[in-house]
Amino acid sequence: MTVLHLRGVSRVHGDGENAVHALVNAELSIESGELVAIMGPSGSGKSTLLNLAGGLDAPTSGEVIVEGTPLSTLSKKKLAALRRRHVGYVFQDYNLVPSLTAAENAALPLELDGMGVGKARKAALAALEEVGLDAQIADRFPDEVSGGQAQRTAIARALIGERRLVLADEPTGALDSTTGEDVLKLLRKRCDQGAAGLLVTHDARHAGWADRVVFLRDGRIVDSSTPLEKPESLLEGAE
């Protein structure tokens, strides 16, 4: 099932001679269970694409469709509700609320959506446990946990509830290589369980966890790999 569909999406900043074409006629579909990596040099439109996919920005032309709903048909209130319920974000700098504990951060989208505090906390503890954080960490504040634990908290928050689209912008930013890899494994696992993931990264090692890689240059999708099928094929070259 298609979770995210970008249909001929363009984003232009400014107009006339000063127009900047941040994204040009992007076509992209992501199915449930799929992790897609977006690669490209700085300024190629990766973050623009991610912001449009998550409804944080609106396209100049084209349509962004999340779980069958064209975002342009939604009021601001309904768009905010769709983002809360269907879309999770993982940022490079975690974006946790510093005055809330890990569990409160993870529970935030559910509480904003009207769920009771007790029920939301229970769901948050389960989500944190799933990303490898125990109850002891759950009651710590962001500045009391390591970078890896903070990013795990952000992933728990991104995927809590029924959200099946996770958008990650350089999610391993300041983490060391093994901790960063743990974060990628979590994203991979959630996609294997049915979420659709869009991962923006500079790092080829991280793109290696994706099913498909889309290359952007100057706002255009210039290449897109087909999904992997037979992992054994590479062994011919390794022997």
């Binding site: 090692r205 793109a207 290696g208």
Partner: protein, 193 residues
């Protein structure tokens, strides 16, 4: 490393003699892989047999230049359009391919880089998938890690090369000028002949 493809790429600039080809190859690759002149002439003979180059009439100095044929051009285009497989890389063919791509007329360097990047990334994806298998033993995982790091390094180098090429104003590759033999380097050939 493919001497055959390297010579075809150099001949795309225009007809040339064996010594000119050797000098141009070493110049294009920073003399990293010295070519034996005998190897150059042997390869040219095979290319002539396969109708990918043709020998032109000797000039007054007794030098016989070679010219790439249409079949040779097609073969060369096919080489540039195909990614190098890791298994086919006893010497670094990719480095040579890119060094020649920036000096060969009509080659879309960005396209050569992107094809390679996509192919290398795909290999990296496959390695990663194998590594994610928790039943793999540690030694195998370490070998996979090594291959992943090599692939990553290659992709980073390709990214860097793409940026450098994009910024550089590529000079038009100059056709070969009049050949002036160097008495020292030409002597062995005379002896061979």
């Amino acid at each position: 490393m493919s001497v055959k493809h390297s010579l075809l790429a150099l001949l795309e600039r225009g007809p040339a003699y064996g010594y000119q080809l050797r000098a141009a190859f070493e110049s294009a690759t920073g003399s990293t892989w010295p070519l034996n002149i005998g190897q150059v002439y042997t390869t040219l003979s095979r290319l002539e047999r396969d109708e990918m180059v043709e020998a032109l009439p000797e000039n007054e100095s007794g030098q016989r230049p070679y010219r790439i044929t249409e079949a040779g051009k097609r073969h060369l285009a096919g080489w540039f359009a195909s990614p190098v497989r890791a298994a086919d890389r006893p010497r670094d063919e990719l480095t040579i391919k890119l060094a020649l791509a920036v000096t060969t007329p009509g080659v879309d360097v960005a396209d050569v880089i992107q094809r390679q990047r996509a192919a290398t990334l795909r290999t990296l994806q496959e390695y990663t998938r194998l590594k994610a298998d928790d039943s793999a033993d540690l030694a195998w995982k370490l070998v996979l890690e090594s291959m992943i790091f090599r692939a990553e390094a290659e992709i980073r180098w390709l990214d860097h090369t793409e940026a450098v090429v994009a910024r550089a104003e590529l000079p038009a590759p100059s056709p070969f000028g009049h050949y002036e033999p160097d008495p020292e380097t030409s002597a062995p050939l005379e002896e061979k002949r």
